[in-house]
Structure formats: structure tokens, C-alpha cells
């Protein structure tokens, strides 16, 4: 594949609904929707009108004046980017007159531009260079002695890109991309006339500005004014491969632009249906971990976790792994081992791990990290709607009138979708935020929430039920919808329940801390403001009532008729790149792929026939149960692919004890993670750049992951699992992940129509993909709920057992920050640490003052479960009584979190922990001991390897 830039039609498409208009451009006739620009029309016909300030992901601007055209019957030379097509219009885009005008404009540009093309980072990939060629500029007659903007200092403060104002042509594309695409409004044009220049607001440089480093400006820049440092360092890419980002559940597709085997840059793909050409700092720039020196490239084993690692051959590692599992099963029983699939790995790899457990281990002891994030989503939505997934695609938000965000922080955790949401909000949609913390969406440039219900952590169900109370008692329920699509009797029971006086906003106010008027206002807006959509995250699920909260959300959506069309729905924002896929692939101990219970004989027979072994009809152990069983001495071996349970699961001490009690812990990962401190076998994993496969994002969209370079560890993850399986005698013979997908499709009705050819043809597919929906299903439940009648479930508010008291008076809640991802294994190994070098504890000024805490002080953070320490960030983003931290660094916030979990799914209650905060001198004793132990545990015996 050779390197070509993506086609840029200059201006965004008109609404497809516009009536067709026929015009003639350079003698050729074309019909396009009303509202299309002449520039886009010419481009779609294969022509090219010179342009510099126009690019098709921002509105036309009309400043460069290169795209002038002649329109018969009109005076002057209209700019083709800002002039819409009209019926019967006759346009000439290439005349001598236009050539002269364009050359005149270009002569002016070049009179203020350095002519160091041969040594410029953008050489060969510069629109200014291309257009100068296109208009045939041969001389710049103004000479060299005039005024100039050249010679200004570069801003190299951003770790990923440089800003060189000398090369800026003031087209404003960066400013407009920041405003219109990203919605951050960090850039502006300062000064006027000849001294106009791009400025990062009142700050001096990019790194200290509001810039979120999403890369939209760099992508928009037509010259080398904004350019990736990697391009400057390596040079122009020579090929590009479209693949899918391995960070969050948005599932952005990127062009991995390569020079040989070297990755030069990741550029968001305009045809990507989840991201439409946008990106965030993680996917765009934070891929350096893939080549980080910490990556382990050779398999290692050790007899005991106190011993140093010994590097071994793949054969030895695989043989040892297989023999250990067989040994343990022989000694402690079939159910004494299990596995954990990874939401970071591909569908195909996940499927293989659960197959290894079910077919090879002969039990159902398989679980996945969704246990600790969205398992309540699976339970709640399956119960109410019949499907364990969100109801919409991301594009749906463009039709939404009211956006209700609960327990999610899209601009940090799902930034590309956050930007889409903000676009819609700037267009006039209304916003309700339910979150204990004042997240950025509550008030950011040109976006302000109508209602921010800053509830006390742990009271989601009370607030949502109170909203339902308002909907029902004020007659705002959509009775026709409910009668047609839901079970009417169940609705009536539910309506009677929510109507009780004790559920009213006024009654719950003392409990939740939210003013009744706000709850009423939010409920009325949600019920009557037009198409209303709910987006939620782990602030909903990671509670003792996580599943209840999901069902309360579903109730509210059904009661107001907000499911089954575009623009509405219930949308879990999935945390990880493939957490949806991992769940779909049968990673849970009670379900085969496609959410079919292991006790279902017909389904089991299907798999037994395919795999040639009898399968266990008893659900297996969930992760917390595996750990409990380990400490009880009955669970002895585990295969963990791409998950760091020691850092990410609650109550670190308990996890450590469980792992320590096992005889064989196999960790397959990129790095020696925290869990590996307790491992006996380490199998080096491969990155998403090094393998083929698919990820399924939060909108059920199955997208291809494509190998852009050979695995530097030697094997793709799916190959490693196959090696283990075959060492256990399972006789697998997959030669490519597409064959695994074919098996998934054959065994899973919702994936029946999925194969790599179809994915290549359509770009991506949203399950269900089957005979009824061969091109996939963007919106679910259109003609009726998947389960038949929508089910209203009574959701009684039960306060969590985790309660504040004199010893632990504050409530700790946790979340993510933009620049980092989950436990930080990847992002801490990138330049993203420039923005967030450590976790901090957000604490309200009044709570801080009571404890004598100042900004930046070291604090100890104690709960009933444990203690850690970190520094203070005093802010009124959190309410009094609430503290907040991220968990990206080695703070080990999960030392603090408790064993409490969701009543239905065991999803841990990360979001509510009663704590006390006090000044301290630095890292706690435990932290220092742990760091020591981790250092010891990571020793690699070099001699042994030789």
C-alpha cells in the first residue's frame, strides 16, 4: 500500500435530506443535495479546486481566496467553499482569469513563508506546497526585504507536536477544528491584519493552555506550522493501515501511518463510523508504550513468586503451563483452575480463552474485567429490554434534544464521543448531569447543563426513582408507548411504587442532597424536552445497587417512550476498547457467547458438537469467588490474559492473598504488571498493532484490528492461547483470526452474518448481524423489545452498607482523567504523564480547611479496608463530604476500596468508600513495602537466560 492522504472534499456534506440540485461544473452535470458547496460538488466529480482554508470536517470559512470560481450570470469570483450550489448553475473552475487570481493570492502567501521546503518536516505532505504547484506559481516578485512573520520562536512544549508560527498561513483551520470538532476553544487568532497569529489563549504555550492535545489542530494544519514530532523525527509515512484504537470503548478507527516497520503517526480515519475523523490524546498520540523498554519480550517462569524470573523458550513456557494446569486439576479437581479473559484483547482472543477454559479445563471458571465495570449493565438491560448492550449508535446523539448523563464523564473518559455530545449541545440540545462531581460538561465553553444533580455518592436509585415519581405523578408518562410496547400490569405496579410519597423528590432530598426542585426540573425536561437519551458510565454500575440503577434508567426511558428510534435510548459508555466484545464472546461463567446460559441444553449441545467434548452445565466462578476459593484452598491455578486484577480489583489485600494461595498463576501481558508479582509463568503479549482481529465498541460496532507490524514478542496473543491449548491436547489449528470469527459466527446467532469479508466491505457492523439484519443493527428495539414486552422492574432504594461515621466521615469516589487510561499500564509509559504525573485527591475547600490541608500537601487516605497516600487537590468540583481520586498511578486506590458489591453481579462498589483524610509525610509504609516487594518480584535472572 502506498501513502496517500485521505480525500478532502473541502466542506462538510450537506444534509442528505436536502432536495437534489442539478448544476454544471466545467461542462459536466451533477445532481447533489441542496446545501452542498460548489467546492464539494467539484471534488465529488473528481475535480479539484485549489484550496487552503477549507477542510471537510469544519464549516467553510472563505478566507484563503484560492478557491474562487466563475459562475455564469453572477458578478465577481465567488469562493467555491462558501457558495452553495443552485439549480441550473453553470460553474467554471479553471479559467485563465482564475489562474491569474489564484496565482496572485499564492504569490502573497509565499511572500511571507520560509522557503525551506527541502528540509521542512512537512515536505511532500504539505498543502501549501501542493497548491503552489497547482496554481503554477513561478516567481514571488515582492522580494525578500518586506515585512514578515517569519523567524518567530517555535512552541515545542507539547510532548507530541510542535507549533512553528513562522510556517503558519493563518487559515484558522486549527482554531476552527478546536472549536467545532473538539469543542475545547483553546485556540484563537490574536491581533489583526498582517500580525494575526494563532494563539493559545492567554497562556504562552500549548502545554500550559486549555489544549487537550486531541490532535485535531495538527490534523487540520495544511503546513508544518502544527506537526507531529514523530513526523519531524522519522519523516513522511510511506504506507497506511486502517485499524481500531485499543483504548476506550468509543472505538475510534485510525490510519496507522507507517514508514517501513516504524509507526510514524496515528491519524483518525474520516470514514470511521464511531469517530468520523476525530481522536483524543490517547489514541492519537499515546502509543509509545508499544515500543517501551519495559515490554517483556521473552517468556519467563519461576517455581516460586519469591524467586527471580528465568527467561525460557516459548516451548518450555507453554509446556510448563500446560503441565501445571493438568497437574493441579489432577490433584485438586477439574474445577480448581480457571481463566480471565481480557477486554483489551480482540474478540477472537477472548473467545479462545473462554474456549480454553470450557473445552480444555472442562469447567466454566471464566470471567472478565467487565465483572468490575459493566456487569450490571448486562444484567439490567437484559432483564428490562432483553439485550445486554446499549440501544443506539453514537451518531444517534445528533438527533437528541435532551441528553441525560449519569455517572459518566465523557470529556475525560470517552473524549471523542464527549466532543460529539458537545457539538449537539452547542446546536441547542439540553443537558442534565447527574454526578457527585462537577464534571467538565456541567460548564465548559458554550456548553452549560440545565440541571446538575450533584447527588451524594450511592444515591443514584433514589434520585432516578424520584425522577420517575415526577414523570408518573405529573402525568408525563407516555401511556400509548407503554401500552403498545411494555407489560402494562408490570408498569402499573411500578407506577404505583414510584408514586408513593416516600419516593418524591422532596422526601429524598435529605438523603441525596439534591434539591427537590432540581429533580423535578430535570424529570420534566427529560420527559417533555423532545427526544431524550441517557448516557451512563461506571458511576451507575459500580455500586451495591448497580444493577438496580441500570434498571431504574431503563424504567425511566420506557416510561417516557425513549427507546426504539434514533436520538433516544439507554447508552452505557463502555470503558475499555473491547469490554462489549469480551462480554459478547462468552467471558462470563454462566454464559456462552451471545449471552446464552450454560444450563441451556440446546446451546450446550451446539458447542459440544463443535468442540467435541462434553461441557459443564454448572456456571463457574466469578473473579471474586475464584479469589475466595483460592484463600479457601480449593482454587489453585489461573490463566490471566491482559488484566491486572491486583491493581484494578477491589480490596487489594484480599486479591493478593488469593493469588498468593495459588500454585500456578499465568499472566499474559505486555508488562510485568502488579498481578505478575504473584505469577509463576509470564507469557509476553502483543499490542494491537501487532495482530489481526476485531474489537466491539460501546455501540455494538464490530471493527477490524489490523496488524501493522510483526509482534516483537514473537506471537500474537491468539497464537499464544492456541499454543497452550494444543499443549493441553486440544488440537486447534487456526491459521488466521478470521477463522476464529467464522467459528464465532457459526456458534452465535447475533454474529451469524459477521466475517472479515463483510467487515472489509462495510467498514464495520453493529450486532445483531444476521439474516434479518445483514448489515447490522444501529438502533435496537425498533419494532419492539428484544425480550418481547419491555419489563418495568421495581427498584427500591437500599442504602449501601458502606456508611460514613465518626471514623470515616468522607465518601471517596473514583474516576478517570483524560490523559490516562485505567490503571495506567499503557499511558504511564507515554508522554501523557506530562499532564497528569500522579493521582491526586480532590477535596472540597471546607473539608480541606477543617483538616489543615493545603493544595499539594501529602495526605493519608484511610478506609476500613486499608490506607494509602497521595497529594491534595483542593477544589470545589467535589461537594463537601465527598473526595475523589483517579487510579492511574501506583497510588493503589484499591487498597482503600471495600468488598461490597452489586447484589446481582458482584460488580464492586468502587464508587462509594467511607474514608478519613489526614495530613501525612509521604507514601505510606504499606506503599513503600509494596514497592520493595514489587521490585524484588520483578527481578529477572539474566544469567539463567543465557
Amino acid at each position: 500500500m502506498t501513502f496517500t492522504r485521505e480525500t478532502d472534499h473541502g466542506t462538510p456534506p450537506a444534509l442528505a435530506a436536502g432536495k437534489p440540485v442539478t448544476l454544471t461544473i466545467d461542462g459536466q452535470s451533477i445532481a447533489l443535495p441542496e446545501g452542498t458547496s460548489i467546492m464539494r460538488a467539484a471534488s465529488l466529480m473528481g475535480g479539484s479546486i485549489p484550496k487552503l482554508c477549507a477542510t471537510d470536517n469544519v464549516a467553510s470559512f472563505g478566507s484563503c481566496r484560492l478557491c474562487l470560481v466563475e459562475v455564469e450570470g453572477r458578478n465577481g469570483y465567488p469562493a467555491s467553499c462558501t457558495t452553495p450550489i443552485a439549480e441550473g448553475m453553470v460553474v467554471h473552475t479553471q479559467t485563465e482569469r482564475l489562474q491569474k487570481l489564484r496565482r496572485g493570492v499564492m504569490e502573497l502567501y509565499i511572500s511571507d513563508h520560509p522557503l525551506d521546503c527541502l528540509t521542512c518536516g512537512a515536505n511532500g505532505d504539505c498543502e501549501l506546497q501542493d497548491q503552489a504547484g497547482a496554481v503554477g506559481l513561478r516567481d514571488v516578485r515582492y522580494g525578500y526585504d518586506g515585512a514578515t512573520n517569519m523567524g518567530q520562536a517555535k512552541d515545542q512544549s507539547n510532548p507530541y507536536f510542535d507549533f512553528d508560527p513562522s510556517k503558519c498561513i493563518v487559515c484558522s483551520r486549527c482554531v476552527r477544528a478546536c472549536d467545532e470538532v473538539q469543542g475545547t476553544f483553546a485556540l484563537t487568532i490574536e491581533g489583526n491584519g498582517f500580525s494575526s497569529k494563532v494563539s493559545v489563549g492567554s497562556n504562552n504555550d500549548f502545554i500550559s493552555s486549555d489544549c487537550v492535545s486531541c490532535g485535531a489542530c495538527v490534523q487540520a494544519c495544511p503546513t508544518a506550522a502544527l506537526i507531529e514530532k514523530k513526523v519531524v523525527e522519522i519523516g513522511k509515512p510511506d504506507r497506511a493501515v486502517v485499524t481500531t484504537c485499543a483504548y476506550c470503548g468509543v472505538g475510534c478507527t485510525f490510519r496507522a501511518e507507517m514508514r517501513g516497520e516504524q509507526l510514524v503517526r496515528m491519524v483518525p480515519w474520516k470514514d470511521g463510523k464511531a469517530n468520523h475523523g476525530h481522536s483524543c490524546v490517547k489514541g492519537r498520540f499515546a502509543w509509545g508504550y508499544a515500543q517501551h523498554q519495559d515490554r517483556i519480550l521473552n517468556p519467563m517462569i519461576r517455581a516460586s513468586v519469591d524467586a527471580p524470573w528465568r527467561e525460557v523458550s516459548w516451548d518450555e513456557a507453554i509446556a510448563y503451563t500446560a503441565s501445571e494446569f493438568r497437574r493441579i486439576q489432577a490433584k485438586y479437581g477439574v474445577r480448581s483452575v480457571g481463566g480471565i479473559t481480557s477486554s483489551r484483547c480482540t474478540n477472537e482472543e477472548t473467545f479462545l480463552v473462554q474456549k480454553l477454559v470450557r473445552q480444555g479445563f472442562g469447567n466454566n471458571n471464566v470471567d472478565t474485567c467487565a465483572r468490575v465495570c459493566h456487569s450490571p449493565t448486562g444484567y439490567g438491560l437484559k432483564t428490562t429490554f432483553g439485550t445486554s448492550a446499549g440501544t443506539q449508535d453514537f451518531d444517534s446523539v445528533a438527533q437528541t434534544d435532551v441528553i441525560l448523563v449519569i455517572g459518566a464523564n465523557p470529556t475525560d473518559a470517552h473524549p471523542v464521543f464527549g466532543s460529539r455530545m458537545k457539538q449537539r449541545l452547542r446546536e441547542g440540545a439540553k443537558l442534565i448531569v447527574v454526578d457527585p462531581r462537577r464534571i467538565d460538561l456541567v460548564r465548559s465553553p458554550h456548553v452549560v447543563a440545565e440541571h446538575h444533580l450533584a447527588l451524594r455518592p450511592g444515591t443514584n436509585v433514589a434520585v432516578l426513582t424520584a425522577m420517575a415519581h415526577v414523570v408518573v405523578t405529573e402525568g408525563l408518562a407516555n401511556e400509548a408507548y407503554i401500552r403498545a410496547r411494555c407489560d402494562w400490569d408490570e408498569y402499573q405496579d411500578w407506577a404505583a411504587f414510584v408514586s408513593q410519597a416516600g419516593r418524591s423528590p422532596e422526601a429524598i432530598e435529605p438523603l441525596t442532597g439534591v434539591l427537590a426542585a432540581d429533580v423535578r426540573g430535570a424529570a420534566r425536561l427529560y420527559a417533555t424536552g423532545g427526544k431524550a437519551a441517557i448516557y451512563y458510565g461506571l458511576g451507575v454500575t459500580e455500586h451495591s445497587q448497580g444493577s438496580s440503577t441500570v434498571m431504574a434508567i431503563a424504567n425511566l426511558a420506557m416510561a417516557t417512550g425513549n427507546v426504539g428510534v434514533e436520538g433516544v435510548g439507554v447508552n452505557p459508555l463502555r470503558g475499555q476498547n473491547n469490554v462489549q466484545g469480551a462480554c459478547d464472546m462468552g467471558s462470563f461463567p454462566h454464559e456462552f457467547s451471545g449471552y446464552r446460559h450454560v444450563s441451556d441444553g440446546a446451546t450446550r449441545k451446539l458447542f459440544e458438537d463443535a468442540w467435541g467434548v462434553p461441557l459443564d452445565s454448572e456456571p463457574g466462578l466469578r473473579i471474586p469467588n475464584m479469589l475466595d476459593a483460592a484463600t479457601d484452598g480449593v482454587f489453585k491455578g489461573i490463566f490471566i490474559q491482559g488484566e491486572d486484577i491486583l491493581q484494578s480489583d477491589p480490596n487489594t489485600h484480599h486479591v493478593a492473598a488469593g493469588l498468593a494461595a495459588m500454585e500456578c498463576v499465568v499472566v499474559q501481558d505486555l508488562f510485568l504488571n502488579e498481578t505478575a508479582n504473584y505469577a509463576h509463568v509470564f507469557l509476553p503479549g502483543s499490542t494491537f498493532l501487532e495482530k489481526d482481529g476485531t474489537f466491539t465498541n460501546a455501540e455494538r460496532r464490530i471493527q477490524r484490528v489490523r496488524k501493522v507490524m510483526a509482534p516483537i514478542n514473537g506471537h500474537a496473543d491468539w497464537e499464544i492461547v492456541q499454543l497452550v491449548a494444543n499443549a493441553m491436547g486440544l488440537g486447534w489449528n487456526y491459521t488466521h483470526p478470521s477463522e476464529i470469527m467464522d467459528e464465532i459466527a457459526a456458534l452465535t446467532p447475533t454474529f451469524a452474518g459477521v466475517n472479515y469479508d463483510a467487515l472489509d466491505t462495510h467498514g464495520s457492523l453493529q450486532w445483531p448481524v444476521n439474516a434479518a439484519a445483514p448489515e447490522g443493527t444501529p438502533t435496537m428495539h425498533i419494532d419492539g423489545f428484544v425480550r418481547g414486552k419491555g419489563k418495568f422492574v421495581v427498584t427500591d432504594y437500599v442504602p449501601t452498607d458502606e456508611k460514613t461515621g465518626p471514623r470515616f466521615p468522607l465518601l471517596l469516589t473514583t474516576g478517570r482523567i483524560l490523559s490516562h487510561y485505567n490503571v495506567g499500564a499503557q499511558t504511564r509509559r507515554t508522554e501523557n504523564v506530562a499532564w497528569h504525573p500522579e493521582d491526586r485527591l480532590e477535596i472540597h475547600p471546607s473539608d480541606a480547611e477543617n483538616r489543615g490541608i493545603k493544595h499539594g500537601d501529602w495526605l493519608s487516605l484511610r478506609s476500613r479496608a486499608g490506607e494509602t497516600s497521595l497529594r491534595a487537590l483542593v477544589t470545589d468540583r467535589v461537594a463537601p463530604g465527598v473526595v475523589y481520586t483517579t487510579f492511574h498511578h501506583h497510588t493503589q486506590a484499591n487498597v482503600i476500596t471495600t468488598d461490597y458489591s452489586d447484589w446481582a453481579t458482584n460488580c464492586p462498589e468502587y464508587k462509594v468508600t467511607a474514608v478519613q483524610v489526614a495530613l501525612s509525610n509521604g507514601p505510606s509504609d504499606w506503599q513503600e513495602e509494596y514497592a520493595d516487594q514489587a521490585r524484588r518480584s520483578r527481578r529477572i535472572d539474566v544469567e539463567a537466560a543465557e
Binding site: S60, F61, G62, S63, C64, R65, L66, L68, G76, Y77, A79, C81, T82, T83, P84, K100, L101, G104, V105, E107, L108, Y109, I110, S111, D112, L115, L137, R138, D139, V140, R141, Y142, G143, Y144, D145, G146, A147, I169, V170, S172, T188, I189, G191, N192, G193, F194, S195, S196
Partner: protein, 526 residues
């Protein structure tokens, strides 16, 4: 008590009217502060009321109070309105200016005020728009777009909210009609805007006044408060500019009101469809809106009855620069440039021969006396490479250096450019530089072309190597013309687009100021 009338207009105050008013008040007179009559050679002017008549004296100073009051002052003008400068005018728009107390609602009503609004409110919006169409009124800000058609577009646009915006960002040097009207007859503008609001279906209006007009800002604000009950439910507010000339461009003005950086928007969409805050907006110049009360009160036909060709009604011409009778002269279209400059204006103030007249502000073309036969008319001016603009007429005598004036045009554009479009942003700066080279070349001692990149490498570097630049006067002439072509046809708005008018007209009519004709030009640069 004797009643005297003294202007509170900024120009009159600059000439001493405040001190004069104080002096008359101290002498026991009842001083009425009016707007200015509009002839600056007689300012400061005092008019003394006696026997129902107003006898003018001007210019007078604070020491002249006694002589004025006893009627012996030598600058006694008699009935000012009868002076030829005034008697020959057709004051449709400025009928009250200089006569009434600007903030007196009684005065306004007594002089025919609100008749237009009352007439309009008795009609349907469409009837009002039709009357404005019939009047032939065209945009007095300079573009000359038919006002009625603009209003029709806004009337037809479907929206929950519409706006009326008055462009009072009168930035052209040598123009002052908007300021005089706002300071001298603010209710006239308010009435015009209220009529526009009725016609277009707008609820709120903005008057965007340049910050250099503090008197106008104060008077308009006071007038809006006093007239609120009359124009209700329509509401108005004043927004003061921040010193940017380009905010007189209508779309940049809208951005400025919205709180953004004043930068020109590409059209379409037209402001009439998507204007202020994205809503349909009537945006008109002060003079366009202030012409409307007359049209509604007297009928579109009465307004259209005067004029020339497709330019109907009157134009408040502003005579400025080196001219004897500087001031405001409202007259029907069709008067020739020569009549304005020589007959009305009385030639130059310096007494030297007129050499050039710039019409239409700093971006208007220069006319030599041999073109004085051209009638004041949008089309006639366009035909000879000029424009009427906001009807500023600036006179220069034979000491003017027209190359310098051409340079000034480019410099003005460079200083005032918003920086959005390339021809204006870079072209204006290059224009100054090219004219500098031409001016240097015509001087006895030609400046050496600086060697910006010394050394052998530099000389071979690409197209900008000094030895590849043709610095001959002919080449620079050609370059200047090419640059003007790029700016005129390539610029986004009239600032860059009209800057070539003064430059090209100076080149065309006064080539000698740019050095000898190119053909016989020595290679001055060498």
C-alpha cells in the same frame, strides 16, 4: 428671556460651542442646545430667537455675546435656513437637524416626528416593505443594495426571533453624517428602526456605534430611554465598538455584537437569513434607517420623486478635506461632482486649485477636475471606476502627492485589516512596500535594494533571491496593478476589495506622481 440656539454637535463643540453656550447662559439667555445645521465654516453658530424668527451669527466666540445680542455682530447671517448652502438642499433626512433639541420629545413631535411610525403601524408589514421598495431607497452605507428587498427577505424568513441592527460604525475618514444625525436627531433613527422592526417582525434592535463617537453613544442611549414607551414593544440598545474599522463591515459588526472578534463572515448566508445570533437580521446604515420615517410619512413616491436614474431620493453628502464650505449637504441624486466641490463647497480652503477629490471615504476613487461632470449616482460613479460609498467627498489642492495618497490607502487597509482573507491581510502590506519602492525610485537618489540574504547561497535560493526580483519601475508598476487586481477580485469584503480604488485611480489619473511614464522610465533601481 432671550432664547438662543447653539449646537451640541461634536464638531461644533470642537470649535468652542460649549464655552459659547455657557457664555450666553451667563448673559441670562435661555440656551437651547440643538444639533448642528451642518455648515462648519459658520460654527460655532448661535441663533437668536426674536419675533418668532431665528437670526444666526457665526462663527462667533465667547467675547461676542454682547454684539450678538444687540444685533451688531459683523457675522450676522440672518435666517440661516435661507443661506444658499441650506436653501438649495433637499433635507428629507436631516430636516430637523440643527433646529430641534435632540432629546426633546415635544420638539420631535412638533416637527413631524413619529408620523412615519404611526403610518407604518397602520399598515401590514408587507405594505411597509412595499412602500420602502417603492421609494427606491438603497443602502446608504455604501453598497447601495435596495433596502426594501433586504427587508422583504427578513420578513419572509421564518424564525422565532429577528433583529434590527443599525450600523453606526461610521469609520470612513471625512464622513460624519451618521454622527450628526445621531447627535442632532436621535429619534429619527429610533423611529426608522421601529418601522423596520414592524416591517420585518423583529422584537429587538442594536445600534452599533463606534467608540470614537462618545456624544452619539450618550445621546442615543438617553433617547432610547425616553422613547421606549413609544416604540414598545420594540426594544433597542446601543453597543459601542472597540476601535476596529472593519467592524463597519456588516458581518464583522454582527460578530462584534455577539461578543466575538470582529471578523468578516463569508456570505452566503446573508445576514437577512442568518444574521445576528444566527437569526434573520435587518442590518442597515444610520442614513438608510433615518430615511424611512420620511418615506412612511410622505409616501414612497414622494421620496422617489427626486433622484437620478436608479438612485432615488436624497443623499446627505459630506464635504470635507481642503474645502471652503465643509459640511453636510443633503441633495437629490444627480448633482455633479463639480457642483458639489466648486459651487456648494466653494473650492479649496487654501485657495489653491483643486487637484483631486476622493469620493466614498478612504476606499473611494480619486477624481481629477476633468471628471467633475460626473453626476452623483451609484451607476454613473461605478461606470467611471469610482463609488459613492457613504458620500464622503474629500478635496485636495495641487500640493497633494498622489503616490503618497495611494500608499495611504494601502497603509489604511493594512492597519484596519481583520486578517481573515489573504489578499487584504498580506496584500495591503505588500502594497505599501511596492509603492515605497516606486516612490523611492522616482526620488533623485534611489534607495538601494536591500540585500536581505547576503551571500552566494542566498542569491541562488529559489524565487525570492534578490537578483531574481525585477525592481524596475515598470515591473513594480505591473506588480502594483496585479496586486490591486488580486485584492479587488479576491478579497472577502469591501475593505480589501475597495482599497484598489484609490490606488488605481491615483495611478490612472496622476501617473506623473509615480514617476515618469513607465515606457520612458530609466532603470531607476540600478
Amino acid at each position: 428671556m432671550t432664547r438662543v440656539f447653539i449646537s451640541r454637535d461634536m464638531a461644533s463643540v470642537a470649535l468652542g460651542a460649549d464655552a459659547l453656550a455657557q457664555a450666553f447662559a451667563q448673559a441670562g439667555c435661555d440656551v437651547v442646545r440643538t444639533g448642528s445645521r451642518g455648515l462648519f465654516s459658520i460654527e460655532p453658530l448661535v441663533e437668536v430667537e426674536s419675533a418668532g424668527e431665528r437670526i444666526g451669527y457665526g462663527p462667533v466666540g465667547v467675547g461676542d455675546v454682547e454684539n450678538v445680542l444687540d444685533g451688531t455682530h459683523p457675522n450676522r447671517l440672518g435666517n440661516v435656513a435661507a443661506l444658499p448652502f441650506f436653501a438649495s438642499q433637499q433635507r428629507f433626512t436631516f430636516a430637523r437637524c440643527g433646529i430641534t433639541d435632540p432629546l426633546s420629545l415635544d420638539d420631535y413631535a412638533a416637527h413631524g416626528g413619529w408620523a412615519g411610525l404611526n403610518a407604518a403601524r397602520a399598515m401590514t408589514p408587507q405594505q411597509v416593505v412595499d412602500a420602502v421598495k417603492m421609494s427606491g431607497l438603497r443602502g446608504r452605507g455604501g453598497a447601495g443594495f435596495p433596502t426594501g428587498i433586504k427587508w422583504q427577505t427578513v420578513l419572509d424568513a421564518q424564525a422565532d426571533e429577528k433583529f434590527i441592527v443599525c450600523n453606526a460604525d461610521e469609520g470612513d475618514s471625512g464622513t460624519f453624517a451618521d454622527r450628526m444625525l445621531m447627535e442632532g436627531d436621535p429619534y429619527c433613527l429610533i423611529e426608522g428602526m421601529a418601522i423596520a422592526a414592524h416591517a420585518a417582525g423583529a422584537g429587538h434592535g442594536y445600534i452599533y456605534i463606534r467608540s470614537e463617537y462618545p456624544f452619539a453613544v450618550d445621546i442615543m442611549r438617553a433617547a432610547i430611554v425616553k422613547a421606549a414607551h413609544i416604540i414598545a414593544p420594540f426594544t433597542l440598545e446601543v453597543r459601542a465598538g472597540a476601535g476596529a474599522y472593519v467592524c463597519g463591515e456588516e458581518t464583522a459588526l454582527l460578530d462584534s455584537i455577539e461578543g466575538k472578534r470582529g471578523q468578516v463572515r463569508a456570505k452566503p448566508p446573508l445576514p437577512a437569513i442568518e444574521g445576528l445570533f444566527g437569526k434573520p437580521t435587518v442590518i442597515n446604515n444610520v442614513l438608510s434607517l433615518a430615511a424611512v420615517p420620511f418615506i412612511m410619512a410622505q409616501g414612497g413616491e414622494a421620496y422617489a420623486a427626486v433622484g437620478f436614474g436608479r438612485s432615488r431620493g436624497t443623499m446627505p453628502v459630506q464635504l470635507a478635506g481642503n474645502i471652503k464650505n465643509g459640511g453636510l449637504y443633503e441633495i437629490g441624486f444627480g448633482i455633479t461632482l463639480g457642483e458639489l466641490v466648486n459651487d456648494i463647497g466653494g473650492g479649496t480652503a487654501s485657495g489653491r486649485p483643486v487637484r483631486a477629490v476622493q469620493v466614498g471615504g478612504p476606499l473611494g476613487a480619486y477624481f481629477p477636475p476633468h471628471m467633475f461632470h460626473v453626476p452623483f449616482d451609484y451607476e454613473a460613479f461605478a461606470q467611471v471606476g469610482g463609488l459613492i460609498g457613504h458620500a464622503g467627498v474629500t478635496v485636495f489642492d495641487d500640493t497633494v502627492d498622489m503616490a503618497h495618497m495611494a500608499r495611504f490607502a494601502m497603509e489604511f487597509c493594512a492597519v484596519e485589516s481583520c486578517g481573515k482573507c489573504t489578499p487584504c491581510r498580506i496584500g495591503s502590506v505588500r502594497g505599501v512596500e511596492v509603492i515605497d519602492k516606486l516612490m523611492a525610485a522616482r526620488a533623485p537618489l534611489a534607495a538601494a535594494v536591500p540585500d536581505a540574504l547576503p551571500g552566494r547561497l542566498a542569491a541562488t535560493l529559489y524565487s525570492r533571491a534578490p537578483d531574481r526580483i525585477d525592481t524596475s519601475a515598470k515591473a513594480q508598476h505591473d506588480l502594483l496593478r496585479d496586486l490591486c487586481d488580486t485584492m479587488k477580485f479576491g478579497s472577502l469584503c469591501a475593505l480589501g476589495g475597495f482599497t484598489p480604488y484609490p490606488v488605481l485611480s491615483a495611478l490612472e489619473h496622476f501617473p506623473e506622481d509615480f514617476g515618469a511614464p513607465p515606457t520612458s522610465m530609466p532603470e531607476a533601481a540600478e
